[in-house]
């Protein structure tokens, strides 16, 4: 099959139909139950703070993290030779995820001097070791791809994946 270069391969959502409207009705009911429960919970504390973190998380992702990743991906096309690019991208996916999950433990904002059993480790060191291991793995993959003889054209992938 030939492909028109560059077009995304994302299909669109359903445009209605009984299945969609049944799911929509059930889903809106369930979400409405959640919203009602939240607004009426005695011990919720500040609803404004909840909303700030809810929308804040969305904005941090959609307006900051996602554009940064897209920009980094585009830069990588110019900066990283195509033969080792998959290895570099894969390494960044793994190392980036680990670094993100490590933010609360490395930051250690929850640390409590009265309770040394909470956050007992040196997490900056732990993160450095974990990222180091991931980088070594990525490096080995990159070296292996760079040594592989250049195919004349991209190889046909096996059918099925």
């Amino acid at each position: 099959m030939t492909r028109a270069g560059g077009d995304t391969r994302l299909g669109s959502e359903d445009d209605g139909g009984a299945r969609f409207w049944v799911c929509a009705a059930v889903g809106i009911g369930v979400a409405g139950f959640g919203l009602y429960g939240l607004l009426n919970a005695r011990l919720i504390g500040s609803i404004g703070s909840w909303l700030t973190y809810l929308i804040g998380g969305l904005l941090v992702h959609d307006a900051l993290l996602a554009p940064l990743v897209v920009a980094a991906s585009v830069m990588m096309i110019y900066l990283v030779p195509s033969r080792i690019r998959p290895a570099v991208q894969g390494t960044l996916v793994v190392a980036g995820s680990v670094a993100l999950v490590a933010i609360p433990v490395v930051g250690g904002w929850g640390r409590n001097p009265g309770n040394p059993t909470l956050l007992p480790r040196d997490y900056a060191l732990g993160l450095a070791i974990a990222v180091g291991v991931i980088l070594v793995g990525g490096l080995l993959t990159a070296v292996r791809s760079a040594r592989r003889p250049e195919p004349e054209r991209a190889p046909e992938r096996p059918r099925g994946w």
């Binding site: 077009d7 299909g11 669109s12 959502e13 359903d14 929509a24 919970a41 998959p86 793994v94 999950v101």
Partner: protein
């Protein structure tokens, strides 16, 4: 020669005069491939099958979190209605469900980010709204994405004891879960057809598109590796054999007084004086024939029993230990409780939401339910609840009340 699953190839159709959009539709069998925005996102990874596989994995992770979370909620706010009462067996059930809850949420972080990246071009779809169903589906994405990010972010902060916000974490996390699952149900209705196509045989048998950089298979492999890496780096807080490699786990199940982690310390609970006071006494009262008042010496003189039970914390860590102490049912019998009903277990702690817990009849009558005086062969450390603490099978750690001073039987 590889052919499109249906229809003619794009090149042939373009040569025959079709528009590019129409030609792609013919080749891919999908409606609404986005010609207007597509060139801005050149990666071949913005792909229906990638989105479908990541969506399925994320849907499973969120469902596991939701169900284990519901279980945890009702374990902490116990129902005592027939079969809905929290079971006493298996004793390790809560340890598994809550370990899974936190592990699935942690592993969902790379899955969610990869999924959002894959479908990011759809955010800029033209036209923005195609009809009422499309409008509902797109609006549902706001609680879906915001709720997903909120649940993972707040959960990850909570397990490290970090509360930068002014809302109650358990209340917000619980109700937001309902909002998120509702939005997920709407979303499943909206993406049913493309997800089925993406997971179907035709999409699977299609060859990898040409292009540089990660292949689709390589991308999914990297995301799976990321999910595996964050799991291995944290799950040792409940899966003891992995504690040596879980460099980012907020707890180490072997670190703490008497080899057990602590959630609420005696200092934090404000019981340093009262727990060590010679006037300490355990009161058993309520719906009983002979209310009791026992000193620590009298408790020690009663028949002692052993139980190997885990402390399984709502924050996702757990640690097994050998406890010994007095059976709760023996105490209730001694006090002449006619029938064992619900028991309220009260701590010396004067303030805080977990200063008392409720225990259903099944737990109160269980032979392994102890007021423990010793752990792993030593007298309890004050941070583990000296003079005595409740330990019962299959209860969340916050319900295993420490520094117990009163058992109140309720009819």
């Amino acid at each position: 020669m590889l052919r499109a699953p249906r229809g003619r190839g794009v090149g042939e159709q373009l040569a025959a005069g079709s528009s590019r959009h129409r030609a792609l539709e013919g080749a891919l069998g999908t409606r609404g491939v986005m010609p207007a925005v597509a060139p801005a996102f050149p990666s071949r990874l913005h792909d229906e099958r990638v989105a479908a596989i990541l969506g399925l994995a994320l849907g499973i992770a969120f469902s596991v979190c939701f169900l284990t979370g519901l279980y945890s909620h009702f374990a902490q706010h116990p129902l005592d209605i027939g079969f809905l009462s929290m079971p006493t067996s298996p004793a390790w059930l809560y340890r598994i469900t809550q370990g899974l809850h936190v592990a699935a949420g942690t592993a969902a972080v790379p899955l969610l980010l990869a999924k959002l990246w894959t479908i990011y071009p759809l955010l800029f779809a033209e036209p923005p709204v195609r009809g009422p169903a499309h409008l509902v589906a797109r609006l549902a994405l706001i609680p879906l994405v915001a709720g997903g990010i909120f649940q993972l972010m707040s959960g990850l902060a909570n397990i490290t004891g970090w509360y930068p916000w002014q809302f109650s974490f358990p209340v917000a996390h619980y109700w937001t879960a309902w909002i998120l699952i509702g939005a997920l149900i709407v979303h499943i209705g909206a993406v049913w057809a493309p997800a089925r196509r993406g997971l179907g045989r035709a999409a699977r048998m299609e060859p990898e598109p040409r292009g540089d950089g990660l292949s689709r298979r390589g991308f999914l492999g990297a995301v799976a590796a990321a999910a595996g890496a964050v799991t291995i780096l944290t799950v040792g807080q409940t899966l003891r054999p992995l504690r040596g490699v879980s460099l980012l786990a907020p707890r180490d199940p072997a670190v703490g007084p008497q080899g057990l982690p602590v959630n609420k310390t005696a200092g934090g609970a404000g019981v340093l004086q009262t727990a060590r006071s010679p006037d300490y006494a355990l009161v058993v009262d309520g719906d009983v024939g002979r209310p009791l008042r026992l000193s620590l010496g009298e408790l020690r003189a009663l028949p002692q029993h052993d139980a190997d039970l885990p402390i399984a914390c709502v924050e996702g860590w757990s640690a097994g230990a050998s406890w010994s102490g007095v059976r709760v049912r023996d105490l209730l019998e001694l006090a002449g409780a006619s029938s064992v009903g619900e028991v309220r277990v009260e701590s010396l702690q004067e303030r805080g939401s977990f200063r008392a817990s409720r225990m259903n009849a099944g737990h109160a009558a269980h032979p392994d339910t102890l007021l423990a005086l010793r752990v792993n062969g030593e007298e309890l450390d004050i941070d583990h609840g000296f003079p005595c603490r409740l330990i019962a099978p299959n209860r969340p750690g916050v319900q295993q009340t420490k520094w117990v001073t009163r058992l109140e039987v309720r009819a």
